[in-house]
Structure formats: structure tokens, C-alpha cells
Symmetry: C2
Subunit: 304 residues, 2 copies
């Protein structure tokens, strides 16, 4: 009997948390997850720079990042928020605000030191992500970018299940064939979970020697484009390798803001335009489908 | 009552599997895990080339790789075993054998296609790793290299718990500060789990323009060495970036065997020598500690 009561109370708690997540997420207009098959393809750098690019559209303080990589959180360092701690207030936990006006939360803000590993199995990671979504004062945001750890395991699955109303995913790959193999899985993953695919970005694509101008495809070239064509997914663009990009990330400054003349920045801004295009289209489709939307709202009401 | 019987039967099954893993692993002389904090640092390429380097010491068919990356398995492609399937025989499941004489198993050998994602939470991944260790005919091997997915989550934890007699871990990083941050966690993780750290390898360290000889630190330089010094961990060496390395990995041929004149190959072979040195020292220490070893054997007997 006691077990039954405990189970009931746990279920209620879960429902309450899900309601809380829904209420919080309703105040965020667009939610975009950045995913990859393999790690180390520059996912966190792309996420931070996407947020930075959108902030410049008059959205200071209206763009947020959820660093959903629980065991290897990198976003704070790239955002220039290393050493930051989350501050709790009477209403809840406040987000950290980067020098460029991007709000963020990350496991890194909760760890006693850089060295502290988070040796957690899946269920604990799921719980942490739930709390990031429910217990943090996200407020009214225009954009939320979610930086997911590589692969198709616990964290990506949790996020997709907790945020069914996601606008879509941006998939990052490097041009190597090995990375292409794994990115196919990320595409299938998104399709299986019915999340729209905004498109594929090919990062670290070719290196131009600043000394002699010779071009080298360190990790190959064109792999992202090929995979996008093969799988019938939009291709968003290629970002060339530039040591400046890595240097900016290490220093905690978004390269799209700091070095606007870079070939990498120009390529990046074209990708941003394509994402904006996707969002505009999506809004148009939503208005067209408004009758359907109404229906789904009624269903939700009835289910209650 | 029925629940109790089920629990008992499950526990017996678990114990039987653990015994099975122990018996199988007793026939493998050295077990080395390759880990990293961040992904995409070349962990799988290093693993395959370590195995290839050791195979040339007269160990054809005596070196194995366990690809423990369940959601993003890359080892088969790099080993030249793409499209291979595991074959079951009366005695159990046979390992795949690469053209260079390396035995391997991977989740990729079990998937219907390259695109198939493995959308599994932690417990299922743990189960898969257990079965790789218990149900596969590893036979008598001199070396087993375990390629672990990045981070400090389910798979690394499972492997460390299932193989407490591991020789040690080789930790891979790229020189970027962001990667250094995360590699610290890998070091703390190994220490917390009492696994010896063989050392840190700095991969993708500097790029020499083949045209003009100018050197560029695409991801920075010296980061791996610095972190090794800071944390008091042996530094094994730096592997420079070379497009040939990526090309060889994409083609499924170990660069250490295919391109012996590369600067990267020479750097790699120095790392191999240091690992051999570690293993020799370890053997010496084991002989010195033989009385302790006897004791631990007795304890195990008594516990039974």
C-alpha cells in the first residue's frame, strides 16, 4: 500500500514537472537543437556562434543556450562564462548572462572545479536535463539553442521527448567519411523522433594556408553536402577551418562577432540566413495550419 | 514470491555473466582503454593505429579491439571492416578479422545499415557491452584495446567496472583549451575509479603546410603537454595533423603501416614505445608484488 502511495506521489511529481516545463517553454518562441553523430565536430562552437549571430538582431538577453552535454560541458568556456556559478533567487535559479548578451545554463556552472568529472549513468543525466528545463528562470526568450552531446543516447533522447514542440535540429558534421557515416545516424534519429531537420552544416571544411594560399582538405571536403543530397536533407553550408575560430572559442569570444572579415564568418552568416528562412517558412506554415492547431489545442484540453 | 524468484534468477544470470567475462578476460594479457574528454579528438584513429603498431610485433591475430561506442561506432570503417557482420558458430560469436590481422567487434557489425541509429538509454548500452565481453570468442590475445565513447557516462563507467584488472587508460586530447578543460575530467574519472593512467596523447597538434612548410597551430599547440604537467600525468607525445591520416582512416588502412615516413607516424611510434615501457614496468611491478597477488587470489577463492 505504501509502495502504491509512493508511486502515485512520484507520478504526480513527474506530471507537475512536465507541466512546469511546458509552461516555461511556452514563453520561448523558437527552440533549435544542435546535434551531431560524432563528437569534436565543433557543435558547441557552432551553437554559441548561432546564438551570437541572432543576438545582434536586437535580441540582447533574448537568446538562450542550454548546454545539455552533462559529462563534457564546453559552452561556458566558449561563451566567456568560465568560472560562472548559477545564482538562486526567491523565484528560482537565474541564468548566467554572457558579455555578448547570451543567457546560458550548463552543468559546468554547478561543478566544484573544472576537473570534476560527472560520473553519471543515463537516468541521472535525464533528471538534470529535466531540472534545467523546469527549475531555471528562462523568462521570455526569442531563441533557445540546445547543445546536445554527440550520439543518439540518453541526452538527445531526453531533450526530444521533453520538448516535442522543437522547431528543428541543425546537424553538424566534418567532411571526413568516418564522420559522414555517423551523421547518417543523427538524420535517422531525428526522423524516427519526428523532429524537423533544418539542415546539415559541414564544419572544418578545407584549410587555406595563410602564408601561400594553398588549400588543403585536412578532413576531406564536400562530405556534408554529399550526405545531405544522399539523404534528401537541406544543406546549410560549409565552414572552412581557421585557427582564428579555435583561438576565439578558447578565449570565450564568438568569432562571428569578433572577426567579421573571416571567410569562416561569411560562410557562417550564410548558414544563419538559411536558418532564418526555415523559421519564416515554418511560421507561414503554422498560420496556414491554424485550424489544425486549434484542433490539437482542443484535444489537449479534453485530455486534461 | 514470484517476484523474489525472478529477482534471484536475474541475479544468478548476472553472476554467471560476470564469471564468463572473468574467464574470457583471463586469456587476454593486456587490456588498455582509450578515452577522451571531448569527442572528435581522433580516439578511434589512435586506437586502430595502436593495435596496428602492436600487430607488427609478430602478433597477427593476437590483438583485438572492442569498439565500445554503442551509438557512434567508427572502428570498423577505420579498420577496413565496413559492412562486416559478426558470424555465430556453435561455440559462440566469432570476431571479425581485419586485413592487417586485427580482431574486432563493434555495434556496427550488428546494425542493418549505416544509417540505423541506436537510440538506447544507458542500461541497454551497458547490457550490450557486457555481451561483447562475455558472448564473443576472444580467444587468447596479447592485447585488447577498448575504444570508449567520449565523456564519463555509461559506457566508460561500465567498462571500468566490468574490467577491474585493466592495465590502464590512454587519454587523447587535441591542443585546444576547450578540449583541455574536458580532458581534466577524464583524468579525475580514471583516478576516482582507480584505473592507472598510462598517459596523455596530444593529437591534431599543429599543421605543416606541405606547399610552403609554414606551420599553423589550427587547434593551438602544447595543450596536452601542459595539462599532463599540471595534473602530474605522463605525457606520451604529440601527433601532428596530416591530411594523409584522415585519408587513410577513411580508406580503412592504418596510417602507421601505410605511410611509415609521415611525421605523424614517427611521432606515433614514439608513443607506442612509451606504452611498451609502461607495460614492461608494470610486469616488473607485478612480479615484485607476487606475494600480494597470491593473497588476492586466495581472497577471491574464499569469497566463492
Amino acid at each position: 500500500m505504501k509502495l502504491m502511495t509512493q508511486k502515485k506521489s512520484f507520478e504526480n511529481q513527474q506530471k507537475e514537472q512536465q507541466r512546469c516545463i511546458q509552461a516555461t517553454m511556452l514563453r520561448i518562441k523558437h527552440k533549435i537543437a544542435v546535434i551531431s553523430g560524432k563528437g569534436g565536430v565543433g557543435k558547441s562552437t557552432v551553437t554559441v556562434n548561432l546564438a551570437a549571430a541572432f543576438v545582434t538582431h536586437g535580441l540582447h538577453g533574448k537568446v538562450g543556450i542550454l548546454d545539455a552535454d552533462i559529462t563534457g560541458p564546453c559552452v561556458p568556456k566558449i561563451l566567456g562564462l568560465k568560472g560562472e556559478r548559477l545564482q538562486g533567487g526567491p523565484a528560482g535559479i537565474e541564468l548566467a548572462l554572457s558579455p555578448y548578451g547570451i543567457k546560458a545554463t550548463s552543468m559546468a556552472f554547478l561543478l566544484p572545479s573544472d576537473e570534476s568529472p560527472v560520473i553519471w549513468r543515463g537516468p541521472l543525466k535525464m533528471k538534470a536535463i529535466q531540472q534545467f528545463l523546469s527549475d531555471i528562470l528562462w523568462g521570455d526568450l526569442e531563441f533557445l539553442f540546445i547543445d546536445l552531446p554527440p550520439g543518439t543516447g540518453d541526452e538527445p533522447l531526453s531533450i526530444m521527448q521533453l520538448l516535442p514542440e522543437m522547431d528543428g535540429v541543425v546537424i553538424i558534421t566534418i567532411p571526413s567519411e568516418v564522420s559522414q557515416e555517423v551523421v547518417k545516424k543523427a538524420v535517422s534519429f531525428s526522423r524516427k523522433l519526428n523532429v524537423p531537420i533544418i539542415g546539415i552544416v559541414e564544419n572544418m571544411s578545407g584549410f587555406v594556408c595563410p602564408e601561400c594560399g594553398a588549400e588543403y582538405d585536412i578532413f576531406g571536403s564536400g562530405g556534408g553536402q554529399k550526405i545531405a543530397e544522399d539523404l534528401g536533407v537541406p544543406f546549410l553550408g560549409k565552414i572552412p577551418i581557421d585557427p582564428q575560430v579555435c583561438e576565439d572559442s578558447d578565449r570565450g569570444t564568438p568569432f562571428v562577432l569578433e572577426h567579421q572579415d573571416l571567410k569562416s564568418t561569411k560562410a557562417f552568416m550564410e548558414i544563419v540566413e538559411k536558418i532564418e528562412g526555415f523559421l519564416k517558412n515554418e511560421t507561414r506554415n503554422k498560420i496556414d495550419d491554424s485550424s489544425n492547431n486549434d484542433r490539437s489545442l482542443h484535444t489537449t484540453e479534453e485530455e486534461k
